[in-house]
Symmetry: C2
Subunit: 423 residues, 2 copies
């Protein structure tokens, strides 16, 4: 191991999400120089992003500047920049405005939306990945009620008050539950010409059940909880077209002005530049030690990676996978520094959870499976516990206590151009 | 007085700022139908907007949905819409997408920036009126530090780390103090290549002293407090040109990539459509009873109005003026409903206050004039007290307590396109 900082191996981490951040932290005590590059200045606590989209939390409650989080870790330099391609043969990254060389590379650039070849649906049905996405969805939801209040035509008014969420995974379930709750409670008495409690919220899932990655018992419980909030759940329903006016399911046309996409993700376009095999969702098919074939210095983790060596299927795109992969990569880099061989990655699945509206949730921790209020409480404490930064935890706790007591949502702001025609 | 709701006089209020909101509230018990129109869905607590621009608070901390605030007042309907012109002869308003007729009209549409005929300066030097303005300014300030961290050329790096605030009124003083504080404390240890504490913050005032509307003693105290924070205060300095690279004062050229405009305001363009005399700043010159000549049913209040009947000069564009005018208008409408004559408006000046950085302020309440920590405490409690909504007060209090203890700023997020070329 070398000890002069100038000659220490240079580890470049691309992405400041859970994978990138935990990789940097796990390398804190090792004799390496780390450069973390992200095109955003903030780490985002993505599990709570739907709460920003539904006006319960503010962006700053769930996001923290990356350089603030890593301030005290002296072996890290944080750069704001966009990596455009990887030249693995020469251990070099091209940035939008420069380049970087590396000894070890950790790619953790995450995922984008995938419309399964229908990219034209993107304008009518935004997805939820970034803070900007969340604010755009919040704008659309709140603006739909405002436009309905002024609309005289009953058909148009009904379409303005119909909200369709495409995709019955955890994000779709949480979004649909939150929209139903806004309309039933937070907005209930705010309008004069419309009754927000009559808004239709439709959750559409192509497969036979919602939250398909959860045990079946929780899918059934989830449907029950969503129906109690007034959400229409439609399984085995394939979306065939989305326009600004309506969603089509084969012959059926459902007029709806607000459609949200929670159905598909695709890995970062960066994966393409590696020149290695990708799976159908665009993820990099990684070796058991999370490297790519022929490049022991190049790791891919998180939503960008397809790790299939454990169950035959890729691991899901959730935080615990990214965090455990990040730690495994740090251990392997340490092995390399000591001249030892890499160990294979093994994922320990501790369960999943989702929340449905104000006081119901779905939890699945090891053999425990439970829903209802207990599920919601478990969800609440685990999410607040993992929120990065004390201030955020406290503020989020108060926002929720306030929202819980009063049914109000504190961040009901329409920002951006209210005259935008796409709603 | 008529009591059938359908035949009650229709009062239209344009604008949901302090003037419009307090006018609506003051008319709560009167037998009128009220329609409040705003092109935004939220009321903004403008005195704290600079705290959003400098990453201390989130937008939702200082803004509340107008229809939420007026929820329980049954005689008000809130409409999201943009009023484009007033047809006073026919008591009719044109909206961007419709029209409204009225019996009484209260115009409280506020003010926009004025670049004194140099509208081309707007792109290089944004002003601070809306939440979008505040987020844009926050983006520019934070991004300047990020770009400086990656910049190799010393001249360009110095320009990136130079922040110029044009205008030495309360907003300019507060902005300059907050930027100096961010660089000296919140960001101090976050960068590796630059030292944020070396950032230059320059406050430029064309007149002989800062906060010219305050007693002279407080101007001197303010300069002392700003200098203690590291702000360069330049009075008697006239800006002659602003480009994306530099600010010019006659022959002198100061390279600076971030320039903020706190110098001039102009009334809403709506004022023009009234066809009555405006003052040089575009404000409507109102009668002693806040109406316009020949239209006893049409009131203009707040930043849109020039009320000169008390001191010979127009009253300043501050909240207390708008609130007192709103109450006077409500009283006059009540007089009209009773068939009585209008009374003249009389403004009671209770003083002004501004804050400088983390623990210093300038206060002027009646005969009391004080600065320093006491001035800051007075400012803090009065501003939190007047913040609309319990939740906001509590959250803001915690954010400040947290910021005070740790010197941190919780909302340091760069959103929007980080590649925008104008910084």
């Amino acid at each position: 191991m070398r000890n002069d900082p100038g000659t220490r191996p240079h580890v470049v981490i691309v992405g400041g999400g859970f994978g990138g951040l935990y990789a940097a932290r796990a390398l804190a005590r090792m004799p390496v120089r780390i450069t973390l590059v992200d095109r955003r200045n903030h780490h985002l606590f993505q599990p709570l992003l739907y709460q920003v989209a539904t006006a319960a939390l503010s962006p700053a409650d769930i996001a923290s500047p990356i350089r603030g989080i890593l301030r005290r870790q002296q072996n890290v330099t944080v750069l704001l920049g966009e990596v455009t391609s990887v030249d693995a043969a020469n251990r070099r990254l091209a940035l939008a405005d420069g380049e970087l060389t590396y000894d070890y590379l950790v790619l953790a650039a995450g995922a984008a939306h995938s419309y399964f070849g229908h990219d034209d649906w993107g304008r009518a049905a935004p997805g939820l990945k970034t803070l900007e996405d969340a604010l755009e969805i919040r704008r659309r939801i709140l603006l739909a009620f405002e436009l309905a209040e002024r609309e005289r035509d009953p058909g148009t008014r009904a379409a303005l008050l119909t909200f369709v969420v495409v995709g019955g995974g955890p994000t779709g379930v949480e979004l649909a539950g939150a929209i139903a709750e806004i309309s039933r409670h937070a907005l209930a008495k705010d309008f004069r010409a419309i009754d927000p409690t009559c808004a239709r919220v439709v959750l559409v899932e192509a497969g036979p059940r919602i939250v398909p990655s959860y045990p079946e018992k929780l899918s059934i419980e989830g449907v029950r909880e969503l129906r109690a909030l007034g959400v229409e759940v439609r399984t085995n329903t394939q979306v065939t077209s989305i326009t600004p006016e309506a969603v089509h399911f084969g012959e059926e046309r459902l007029p709806a002005r607000t459609v949200l996409w929670a159905a598909g993700v695709a890995a970062s376009p960066l994966a393409l530049s590696l020149g290695v095999p990708l799976d159908r969702a665009g993820r990099v098919i990684v070796e058991p030690d999370l490297t790519i074939p022929g490049h022991r210095e190049l790791f891919v983790i998180g939503d960008m990676a397809a790790f299939t060596h454990q169950t035959g299927k890729p691991l899901p795109g959730v935080c615990p996978v990214a965090i455990q992969e990040a730690r495994a990569v740090a251990e392997n880099i340490e092995q390399a520094l000591r001249g030892r061989a890499y160990g294979p990655f093994h994922y320990v699945d501790k369960g999943s959870m989702a929340t449905i509206g104000r006081a119901a949730g779905l939890c699945w921790i090891g053999r425990l499976q439970f829903g209802g209020f207990l599920g919601w409480l478990a969800w609440l404490f685990i999410h607040i516990f993992f929120l990065i930064g004390f201030r955020n935890r406290l503020i989020v706790m108060i926002e929720w206590a306030w929202a819980y007591m009063t049914y109000q949502r504190g961040a009901r702001l329409i920002t951006g151009d209210v005259r935008k025609g796409d709603v």
